[in-house]
């Protein structure tokens, strides 16, 4: 157990009161926010923590001798400890603050992979990756003359993993924990184990997993884990890279600047200790504080209850959407996070999204930055309704009613 402050029971109406924006209206209709995979809303405690930081402790960190600087440093480093606690990392040095998942992955591509990548080497990803877990690898592969290969997926959107895909030339296996486009929950532990057995390092893109489940990086056994603050009910602009200490220690810095050095002369610069070596310049201090507050908030939830509630949302949505004529759900994996992506015969997702918006329902339409997935299912774009623990079964009924209107309009 990480925390013992769990509430007695999960009551969604009580939880919703913690999120000011959820009481809002769009086009005179109550907001039904089903775009949580894009970004999540922020509980009041996060907003308060950010405001309090700027009002009471605002200062630059680490080098100031004055009181405010010490207070700000304590806030920022305190947030790092909260992250370490939350994902059960072995040491605080293994937690690097970044701008988000994308920057975390780019950091590993540049500082870890690039120096060890030789012509003919391979990097393995999967067919269900978000572009942010494809393009950074592609860039370094092109530079090095290495090859980017992928694990294919089946018609339900599940990995067709074969250990043979991990070859003696594979220098890294990077895969998504939960797919943003399909909702598929990948067997991360097993995938990591297969890679480790061959001495292949792993990076897990946890952007979509972190909002739905407790993460335990040591249990997963991965070398790197990346996630974003704004998807776990914290602010935008802050993210996390977890990396195993031995690996981070051996890596050159990602960016040069202040904070990441020990001593600079014009002849040579000595890098700072972990994790500061990877945090050049003034970081998003308030963002880290906000993320820390978000994790504190998540720590008060009963996660067994959260899981059950989200499973109920997914079950209701899957069942109700299946009854709509011409609607096809894309991504029907056995193990799925609470999101539903679909295609509606004869109606373009853009039109669906527009009409839903008029009903107060916010969904995502487009390719979800996962064009290989769209290609795999032969659609240019889809509509995605993605849920968070603060969504209600009644909101799914609003979604279904709005989709029925779409069906009528485009009859």
């Amino acid at each position: 157990m990480h925390r013992t402050l769990a509430r007695p029971a999960f009551d969604v109406e009580t939880v919703r009161k913690d999120f000011p924006i959820l009481a809002g209206h769009v086009w005179c209709k109550p907001l039904v926010y089903l775009d949580n995979a894009a970004t999540s809303h922020k509980p009041r405690v996060v907003l308060d923590a950010i405001e309090r930081f700027y009002k009471e402790h605002n200062s630059n960190i680490h080098r100031g001798v004055h009181w405010l600087s010490a207070a700000a440093t304590k806030d920022y480093e305190g947030a790092r400890d909260k992250v370490r606690d939350w994902i059960r990392a072995a040491a605080r040095e293994e937690i690097v603050f970044t701008r988000g998942t994308t920057e975390s992955i780019n950091l590993v591509a540049r500082s870890f992979l690039r120096p060890r990548l030789k012509p003919g080497d391979e990097v393995l990803v999967t067919e269900m990756e978000h572009h942010s877990n494809i393009v950074p690898w592609q860039l370094v592969c092109e530079e090095a003359g290495a090859k980017l290969s992928h694990v294919p997926i089946d018609d339900r959107g599940q990995l067709l993993f074969d250990e043979k895909l991990l070859t003696e030339r594979t220098r890294l296996f990077a895969f998504v924990h939960v797919s943003n486009a399909l909702g598929t929950v990948n067997p991360a532990r097993e995938l990591v184990r297969a890679a480790r057995a061959r001495g292949i390092p792993t990076l897990v893109d946890g952007a979509q997993a972190a909002p739905h489940t407790r993460i335990d990086v040591r249990d997963l056994g991965c070398d790197f884990y990346a996630f974003s603050g704004h998807k776990v009910f914290g602010p935008t602009g802050i993210g996390v890279l977890y990396g195993r200490k031995e690996l981070l220690e051996g890596m050159p810095p990602y960016q040069g600047g202040g904070e990441m050095i020990k001593r600079v002369t014009f002849q040579k610069t000595t890098w700072n200790d972990l994790p500061y070596k990877f945090e050049a310049g003034t970081p998003d201090i308030a963002g880290a504080v906000g993320l820390g507050a978000a994790l504190d908030y998540l720590g008060t939830l009963d996660w067994e209850a959260v899981r059950a509630h989200e499973a109920a949302l997914l079950a209701r949505a899957t069942e109700a959407l299946s009854t709509i004529k011409g609607l096809r759900i894309i991504g029907t994996a056995k193990s799925k996070a609470s999101l539903v992506t679909f295609d509606m015969e004869g109606v373009h997702p853009h039109d669906i999204g527009q009409i839903l918006d008029q009903e107060g329902v916010a969904v995502r339409t487009g390719h979800h930055c996962a064009q290989p997935v769209m290609d795999r299912f032969g659609v240019p774009a889809t509509t995605r309704a993605s849920f968070a623990f603060y969504n209600t079964l009644a909101e799914i009924d609003v979604l279904v009613a709005a989709l029925t209107k779409v069906r009528e309009l485009f009859a």
């Binding site: 373009h348 853009h350 039109d351 527009q354 339409t365 487009g366 240019p380 309009l409 485009f410």
Partner: protein, 147 residues
């Protein structure tokens, strides 16, 4: 919502006019809206300074499909100068301030798109076919994007 999805738009989306390839086109071009994955190919046959025929092919949302369809019916037989003027009026309407006066006489059926100006995200959908036609006529030959 009916304000955007007028009957005429829904009709042209369902039964697009002039959606066909043109073997004897004098110019053609590709248009792509990376935001929503819409792809269009516009064909045009210019005789002298007149648009003798115009058609399109491709997939898109209701707004982009209906706009392409109504573009073809509005421009057939027009001179290039007239076509340019219609596009300018159309463009001004969909990018204008909501509630601004619309010259319905000059725009004819195209006035049905006046609701688009309330949804800035959809301007790209409504103008994709037009930008693509313009590129075809200007013989750039390069794919046009709305980005």
């Amino acid at each position: 919502m009916r304000e955007l999805y007028q009957e005429l738009i829904l009709d042209h989306n369902k039964k697009p006019r002039n959606r066909r390839a043109m073997a004897d086109a004098t110019a053609d071009a590709d248009g792509f809206n990376p935001l929503c994955g819409d792809k269009i190919h516009v064909f045009v046959k210019v005789e002298g300074d007149r648009i003798a025929d115009v058609s399109f092919d491709g997939i898109g949302c209701a707004i982009s499909t209906a706009s392409a369809s109504l573009m073809t019916t509005s421009l057939k037989g027009k001179t290039l100068a007239e076509a340019r003027e219609i596009f300018e009026r159309f463009h001004a309407m969909v990018t204008g301030e909501p509630g601004a006066p619309v010259d319905e006489d000059a725009l004819g059926k195209l006035a049905v798109f006046q609701g688009v100006c309330e949804f800035p995200v959809r301007v790209k959908c409504a103008t994709l076919a037009w930008h693509t036609l313009k590129a075809a006529i200007e013989r750039s030959g390069d794919a046009v994007t709305t980005e």
